[in-house]
Symmetry: C2
Subunit: 503 residues, 2 copies
C-alpha cells in the first residue's frame, strides 16, 4: 500500500477528458476516509488530460478515498494509502492558538517571523536558488509571496511563467490556468516547507500589467477555487487574500472579497490560516469577520499593536511596519535599527511583525520583491529575537498590560509562563523596576542588547522606594514597583529578561 | 512726567488699610486711559499696607489713570505717565497668529522652543542663579514654571518661600498670600523677560505636601485673581492653568477649571495666552473652549500632531513629548536622539515641542524641576532647530499635507513662504523627491544633519520617472514627484531645505 507520512502530501492522478475546457467543464472531488471520519477534498485539472487529488493526512493509519466527478472516467475511482508517523521536524499546519498566537497542529508553538519576496517565484531560476540559500542562513519562518508576477518600480522584468495560458492571438485566456506556472509555484511552496518556512500566499495584488488583477468576478472565483484545490495539501500554506486589497476595490468590490474567503473555506479542507492585507493604514478590512483567522496589517505605528488586538480579538501580524532600505518610496527606507526596534515593540505588545528589505540596487535586485541576497542589518537581529523568544515560549508572549496603561503605553513588556521580557526601546533609564517580579525569589535576570545581540546577567539592586505622591488631597504611598530593580548602562535599545533561576 | 517704555511695566503704589485681611477685604482697580481708549486694570495688596496697580502699555504717548476702591484711602487716585518707544528687542506679549502659530504684539513671529524647570524659583538662590546662566547659553525662549513648590521624587527639599502666610499656630492661612514669595516669583519672571524668555506660569499642580493643591474653591478663585493682578503686566507671561490638571480633578472638578480661565480673562487686561496641560494622554481638556488660546499637551506620539491641530483648530504646543534623561520614571528617560527626533517631527507637522531633562543626579539636581545645569545633549540640537526655523519663518511652518496623507503620514515636511523643509527622521532614502518644488527654478537646496548640526549644499539630481502603477484596471502614469530630486547619504535623521536661490 502507498505510504505517506502524516502532514505530507498524498497524491492520486487520473486520466480524464482533455477536450473543451477541462478547467471549467470537469468537476472532481474525492471523499477521503479514516475509520468513520470523512473529509471532502477538491481535485484539479493539471493539463494534458491529467486530473489530480491531493490530500494532507492529519492522522496515522489507513485511509481510503473515492472520487466523484461529472466526467465518467473520473467518477468512482477508489484507492487507499497508509499514513506513517510524521517525519522529524514536521509539526503540521499552523493554527491560531491561545486567541492571539499560533501553534502547529501538533501543539508546537509557532512564532511567525516573516519576510517578504513578493515575486520571487517569477525571477530567473538562478535568482530563486539564491533566495532559498539566503533563507537557509536567515531565521525567517514565513514568506509572503504572490501567485502573480509584479509590475512595479524596480519590477519591470518579464515573469518566468504565464500564470494563464495564451490563446492563438497571444491574448491571455483567463479561463485556462497555466499548469506549468502553478506547478513551479507549488514546488517552491514545498521547498519552503522542507525548510520549515510557512508560505503566506498572496492571491491578488494590484501591481499588474498582464491583466491578472482585472479578471472577471467568475474568473476570480474559479482562480481561488483552483488554488485551494492545488495547494491546500501543502502543510505550510497560509492564505493571504491580497497585498493591499483596498487598492483593488475599484475592480473587486467588497462582496467579492468576502466570497473569496468563503471559496477558500469551501475548498481547503484543512482550514489553513486566512488573512487580508491593507494598503492605506486607515483601510483595514474588518478582521472580526468569522472567516478571517488573524489580523494582517500594514502599519508603522507599532505601539498601537494592543489596539488592534483589542479591536479584532485575533492574532495580529503586522507584515509591513515599513521596510529596511534606501529606495525613494517612504515605506521602503527605514534604518535597520528602526525596523529591529519595531519588531521588539510589536512582539512585546503581543503581536508579530514582518521583515522586508528594499535597498537600492543597480540591477533592481531587491529582496522585498525578487528575493536573492539579503543586504541589510536587520535580519540577523530579527533572528536573534526569534531565538530568544523560542527559548521561553509556551502559550505566546502576552503584553504585561493589555490595556497599555502607564508605563506600558510608553515601553513594551510581555510575559509567557514564568518569563518576563521588558523592552525599553528609546528609553534609557539607569535603573528599572516596573514589570519585574513582585515577590522576592530566585530569578535569572538578564540584560539583552537587542542590536549587538548579547545576553548577559543583569546587575540586580534593591527596588527604590516610591515617594509618596499626592494628587490633591489623596496621598498615594505606593509600595515599591517590584521586589528588586535592575541597574542599566543608560543607553537605548536594551531589554530585560527575568525567569526562574532553575530554568 | 513718569516715563515708561512700551511693553514695560508702569507701577503706582498707594498706602491703604492694613488691619483685618486686606487681601480679602479691599478691592482696588484702576482705569487706565490713552486718548479715548480705556482699560480696566486690577490692583493688588502687597502687604504692610501697600497696594499697587501695574500696567503694561501697548501704545506710545500719554496715559492717565484713576483708581476705584472700597477703601477711601485708595479711591479716586489719579496720575499720568508717558509711554516711550519699546526698548530694542522688546516686541510685546505673544499672541496666537495665523491660527496655528504665535507672534509678538508687534508682529514679530514667535516660535516657542520651551523647556521645563517646574520649581526652580523655590530652590536656593545660588541654584536659581545657575539656572539663569544656563538659560543664557541655551536657546530656549519659554520656560514652564510653577508658582507653588513641588513635592515629588527627587523633590523633597523645603521651598525657598511659603507661598501663603502661616498663622500663629504655624498653619498656612490660605486667605493670606505671602507677598515676599510672589515678589520673588515675579522678579524671576521679569528676569526671564529681560532674556527674551516667556514664562509659562503653572498655576496649579498636584505634587504638593503643603496644602496648596487642596485650598477651597473660594480660595482658589482668589489666588487666580491675585496672580493675574500681580503678574499680568509682565509682557512675557503665559498662563498654564495646570501641570496635569486631570490628576487634580478629585479636588477641583471641571467647573472650577472653567472658572479659573474666566477669572484670568476678567483680570488680565492684556489677554495673555491661556492653556491647560494634561497628565493622562487620554485626558486632554477640551481645548476648543473659547477661553483656551492654544493646545498644551503631554503626548509622546508626535506623529499625531496634525490630529490635534485638526481636533482643536489652535496652535499645538506639546510640552511633554517625554524628557531626555535616565531616571526610572518612563516619561523621563528617553535618549537625546529621540527627543531631538520628536522636536523635528512636531515642528515639521505644524506644532511646537517642549524640552525637559531628567538625568539621575546624586544630589537630585535635575533640570526638569530644579533648573541648575543642563547635562544633556538635546538642548544644543533644539537650539540649532530654532535658529534654522527663525531664518525663514514668516507666518509659521505649516505641514505640507495637513491631512497627513501618504507620504506625509510617515515622514514630516513643512512650508513657510518660499521655504520647504522635509525631515526624513528614521527614513534613509538615497534619493528623495516628494515635497520638492514642482516647477524648475533657481533654488538653494541644503542637506541638514539634525544631530551633527550641519547645513551643506545638497546634491541635486534629476527626479526619477514614476513607474506607471496599476490599481486593478486603473493605470496611473503619474508625472515625477518634483522638478528635481536630492541625493542623500543613506543615513537617518537628515532634513532637506529648499528656498529660492536669491534668499
Amino acid at each position: 500500500m502507498t505510504e505517506v507520512a502524516q502532514w505530507d502530501v498524498f497524491e492520486a492522478s487520473f486520466e480524464g477528458p482533455s477536450g473543451g475546457n477541462s478547467f471549467l467543464d470537469v468537476r472532481l472531488e474525492a471523499f477521503v476516509q479514516h475509520k468513520s471520519r470523512q473529509m471532502r477534498v477538491p481535485g484539479f485539472y493539471d493539463g494534458e488530460g491529467i486530473f489530480r487529488i491531493r490530500f494532507m493526512p492529519d492522522t496515522e493509519g489507513e485511509w481510503l478515498f473515492s472520487t466523484r466527478s461529472n466526467a465518467a472516467e473520473l467518477d468512482g475511482k477508489t484507492g487507499s494509502f497508509m499514513v506513517t508517523p510524521a517525519r522529524p521536524g514536521v509539526h503540521g499546519p499552523v493554527r491560531v492558538a491561545n486567541k492571539f498566537h499560533f501553534a502547529h497542529a501538533d501543539g508546537t508553538p509557532f512564532l511567525p517571523f516573516g519576510t517578504t519576496c513578493y515575486a520571487w517565484t517569477h525571477q530567473p531560476l538562478e535568482e530563486q536558488g539564491k533566495t532559498l540559500e539566503s533563507l537557509k542562513k536567515a531565521r525567517f519562518n514565513k514568506l509572503r509571496m504572490g501567485v502573480f508576477p509584479k509590475d512595479y518600480p524596480y519590477n519591470v522584468n518579464e515573469a518566468l511563467h504565464d500564470v494563464y495560458q495564451k490563446d492563438s492571438d497571444g491574448q491571455y485566456d483567463f479561463d485556462r490556468p497555466n499548469p506549468e506556472s502553478f506547478r513551479h509555484f507549488e514546488n517552491q511552496v514545498k521547498a519552503l516547507g522542507e525548510m520549515g518556512i510557512e508560505a503566506d500566499i498572496i492571491i491578488f495584488h494590484p501591481y499588474d500589467r498582464w491583466g491578472y488583477s482585472d479578471m472577471s468576478e467568475r474568473q476570480d472565483y474559479a482562480y481561488v477555487q483552483y488554488l485551494a484545490a492545488r495547494l491546500s495539501a501543502y502543510r505550510n500554506v497560509w492564505w493571504s487574500l491580497a497585498n493591499e486589497y483596498d487598492f483593488l476595490l475599484n475592480t473587486k468590490p467588497m462582496h467579492q472579497w468576502n466570497r473569496y474567503f468563503h471559496i477558500l473555506e469551501e475548498n481547503d479542507p484543512y482550514g489553513h490560516l486566512r488573512s487580508i492585507h491593507n494598503g492605506d493604514p486607515e483601510a483595514n478590512y474588518d478582521h472580526r469577520k468569522a472567516w478571517v483567522t488573524h489580523v494582517c496589517i500594514q502599519n508603522w505605528d507599532v505601539k498601537r499593536t494592543g489596539e488592534w488586538r483589542l479591536a479584532y480579538g485575533k492574532p495580529v501580524v503586522n507584515d509591513e511596519p515599513e521596510y529596511e532600505g534606501s529606495i525613494i518610496q517612504v515605506w521602503g527606507n527605514i534604518s535597520a535599527q528602526e525596523l529591529v526596534h519595531r519588531f521588539w515593540i510589536t512582539t512585546m505588545r503581543g503581536g508579530y511583525a514582518g521583515h522586508g528589505e528594499t535597498f537600492s540596487h543597480p540591477d533592481d535586485l531587491i529582496w522585498w520583491a525578487k528575493g536573492g541576497e539579503l543586504r541589510g542589518e536587520a535580519w540577523k537581529r530579527i533572528g536573534f529575537l526569534r531565538d530568544l523568544l523560542e527559548q521561553d515560549v509556551s502559550n505566546g508572549f502576552e503584553p504585561i498590560d493589555p490595556q497599555t496603561r502607564y508605563p506600558w503605553n510608553r515601553v513594551s513588556g510581555a510575559r509567557d509562563g514564568d518569563t518576563t521580557i521588558i523592552y525599553l526601546g528609546e528609553h534609557q533609564p539607569l535603573i528599572w523596576a516596573a514589570g519585574l517580579p513582585q515577590e522576592p525569589g530566585d530569578y535569572q535576570v538578564d540584560l539583552i542588547d537587542t542590536w549587538n545581540m548579547t545576553v548577559e546577567p543583569a546587575k540586580v539592586v534593591p527596588a527604590p522606594a516610591n515617594h509618596p505622591t499626592r494628587h490633591g488631597a489623596v496621598v498615594m504611598q505606593r509600595k515599591p514597583d517590584a521586589a528588586f530593580a535592575v541597574e542599566l548602562p543608560g543607553r537605548p535599545h536594551l531589554a530585560i529578561r527575568v525567569r526562574p533561576a532553575s530554568a
